[in-house]
């Protein structure tokens, strides 16, 4: 049974320029930005969906260095990321924003596409998500950029997974006691919630995320198929990891199963690439030495046959001359020469048959990759970081470790209230694996409830929107910053802790 999967290679559609509705202007509706290392989601708090959902990258093509010309394409203006892969810039370093010029370009893009047309300022309060334990230095730069360049009236920061959790509760609020597992693009966090607040001190961050899964998958397939290195792009790997991969409930069992040939044939998926570059692979002759070698052999054999046939023709004219040539060719008589010719002909037929076979295989083989064990290897790195050489505990070990910081009663309550969110958790079997690992950690027959966000990618934005319009909201204004400095942060249930940097003097 052939499980065939063709990579879709979807191209980005440019974003629409939205209309700046009058109602949004007069009522000063909050603007919600879920700023992530993978995608940025921007929209108005009163809407159900973010108006914009774009990849948080720009492609900066330096034309003429002297004249400082550059062609910048932002986010969804880039149709195909692979053509500009080496020009991509992101404001992120890992999961924290560090490059504010790129961030400014992306914010300009977002506000422009929302249709904002006010002069010299943006008259809307802004809610922005940030990383857990975001350094104060980074927050300071961001606040300065937002207030100085865009002149927003009010600002609030929050943590995306907390917003997502709040949104998925019956009434928008954090649970009394719970545990959040958030797996994103660059990192995975385990965050305990205690007393309706995030316990950031006891949070744990594994430095692996969806990007690492895709990159690992790419390297695994590239090693096994060196001729298809250029076909196995990161965008395709993203598609494959989210479409085909699954998290094995029991990794050891799964990989032993995968290596059994019967299982492999049944369950392995053949990836197909709908690309026009595959013919060039054949021409370089890198793939199979097979067809080219055979072609050469065929040519030589045909040439020799031609020579022998010439001799036979010569025989018809003059036997003596033919005999002489036959002797030169290494045959004792013309009869032997004729026999040799026959053998040559058979040989050539055999080579032709082999060549046809090779080309037939080529047609099937080029541009296809068989994925068996790789389907469960790639997502496993979150649970076993040692697979990629990271000296960190896996997800289940982190959960076990964190639970031990609390009393037995609290542990029980937490185990009944585990919440999974983040784009990377959309991989098949993620939730089931967490359940299974929890069963191994917790005492015999204790209760374990693991819920997943309704929409692991967008619920953070929706949660932030709901929070902005609710009474929980806690805004910071420009005057607060003028009094306390740009590093100021007003803490609230959904935010980070404020850690002041001491002056070095």
């Amino acid at each position: 049974m052939l499980n065939l999967y063709t990579c879709k290679d979807e191209q980005n559609c440019p974003d629409v320029l939205h209309e700046y509705e009058a109602q949004l202007q007069t009522e000063s509706i909050p603007l919600i930005i879920d700023n992530g290392s993978y995608h940025c989601r921007v929209g108005w708090a009163t809407k159900l969906h973010p108006y914009l959902n774009f990849k948080n990258v720009i492609a900066k093509n330096r034309g003429n260095r002297k004249e400082k010309d550059w062609d910048i394409q932002v986010a969804n203006e880039i149709a195909d990321l692979e053509t500009v892969r080496w020009l991509l810039r992101t404001p992120y370093d890992f999961n924290v924003v560090v490059n504010y010029s790129v961030q400014e370009t992306l914010l300009d893009y977002a506000f422009k596409h929302l249709g904002i047309s006010t002069d010299g300022c943006i008259n809307h309060p802004l809610v922005l998500t940030e990383a857990i334990a975001n350094p104060s230095y980074c927050r300071k730069q961001m606040s300065e950029l937002l207030f100085e360049s865009y002149c927003i009236p009010k600002l609030a920061y929050g943590i995306d997974c907390l917003f997502s959790n709040g949104y998925n509760m019956p009434e928008f609020d954090l649970p009394e006691v719970g545990l959040i597992v958030s797996s994103g693009f660059q990192s995975t966090h385990v965050l305990p919630v205690f007393g309706k607040k995030a316990d950031i001190k006891n949070c744990c961050r594994i430095n692996l995320g969806g990007y690492n899964c895709s990159a690992y998958m790419q390297r695994l397939l590239q090693f096994k198929h060196p001729q298809l290195v250029s076909e196995l792009t990161l965008s395709r790997m993203d598609e494959v990891v989210h479409g085909l991969c699954h998290v094995a409930p029991n990794y050891q069992e799964e990989i032993t199963k995968c290596c059994d040939i019967g299982f492999k044939d049944k369950h392995a998926t053949t990836l197909q690439f709908s690309s026009s570059t595959t013919p060039s692979n054949i021409k370089t002759g890198n793939i199979l030495g097979g067809p080219l070698k055979l072609e050469k052999k065929l040519k030589q054999a045909e040439h020799k046959l031609y020579e022998l046939e010439c001799v036979i023709e010569l025989e018809q004219e003059s036997t003596e001359a033919a005999e002489k040539v036959a002797a030169d060719a290494g045959c004792s008589s013309i009869k032997e020469l004729k026999e040799k010719t026959e053998l040559m002909r058979d040989n050539i037929q055999a080579i032709r048959r082999d060549l046809d076979e090779q080309y037939r295989l080529d047609k099937v083989a080029t541009g296809t990759v068989k994925c068996g064990i790789e389907k469960c290897q790639a997502p496993e790195i979150i649970f076993q970081p040692s697979l990629v050489g990271y000296n960190q505990s896996g997800l289940s070990e982190c959960i076990e470790m964190l639970l031990e910081n609390y009393s037995k009663e609290v542990q029980e309550l937490m185990a009944k209230n585990i919440f999974i969110t983040g784009g990377n958790t959309k991989i098949d079997g993620f939730r089931e694996r967490v359940v299974k690992d929890m069963i191994q950690i917790r005492p015999y027959q204790s209760e374990i409830i693991v819920r997943q966000a309704a929409d692991p990618s967008l619920d953070a934005w929706r949660g932030a929107a709901k929070w902005a319009l609710s009474q929980h909201c806690n805004w910071m204004e420009r005057k607060d910053f003028e009094e306390c400095g740009w590093e100021y942060l007003k803490e609230h249930n959904f935010s980070n802790m404020h850690v002041a940097t001491k002056s070095t003097t």
Binding site: D71, Y100, A133, I255, V388, K502
Partner: protein, 160 residues
């Protein structure tokens, strides 16, 4: 022959700075720009004008921001490692910093997997340091090139 030589030099990374080839160089630069901007398919109006900075001023931005020299464009930004180190040196014990929430090394011994097949690996090749699970894989290891060995080890951040 002379001009051909110059062409070869300009095509590589180092560019010939002779004044004679300056005009030729400029033409070449323009050609290169056209090619790359044609690749960026989705901006049809910009491919005609070869390479232009985005200069349309956006109305909602504070015009005084640039004038007062707060511009973000020319600044050199610190990377995360530098920020983390700065935070570490400035924070006192017990405070939550970006680095303090990093997951610790595993307590349980890690499981080893074969670099060739992904199966549990019981053996390590002392020569290449690759892990393998059975004799067939060992035979394969003996035939693979050193580039592949280095690549496979880099996959799990081990050195040769």
């Amino acid at each position: 022959m002379e001009s051909k030589k110059n062409d070869n030099v300009t095509r590589g990374k180092k560019r010939a700075r002779s004044p004679a080839s300056a005009r030729g160089r400029k033409r070449k630069d323009l050609k290169e720009n056209e090619n790359t901007s044609n690749e960026l398919k989705n901006v049809p109006q910009q491919t005609e004008e070869v390479a232009k900075p985005r200069q349309e001023p956006l109305c909602f931005k504070n015009p005084k921001y640039r004038e007062n020299g707060f511009s973000t464009r020319t600044k050199v930004w610190k990377n995360l490692k530098q920020i983390m180190n700065a935070q570490k040196s400035q924070s006192s014990n017990g405070e939550v910093t970006y680095a303090s929430i990093d997951a610790p090394p595993p307590v349980k011994p890690v499981k080893k997997y074969s670099d060739i097949s992904g199966l549990p690996a019981f053996y390590t090749d002392p020569h290449t340091k690759l892990r393998y699970s059975n004799s067939d894989e060992y035979r394969q290891i003996q035939h693979i090139s050193s580039d592949t060995v280095v690549g496979l080890l880099a996959l799990r951040q081990a050195s040769y």
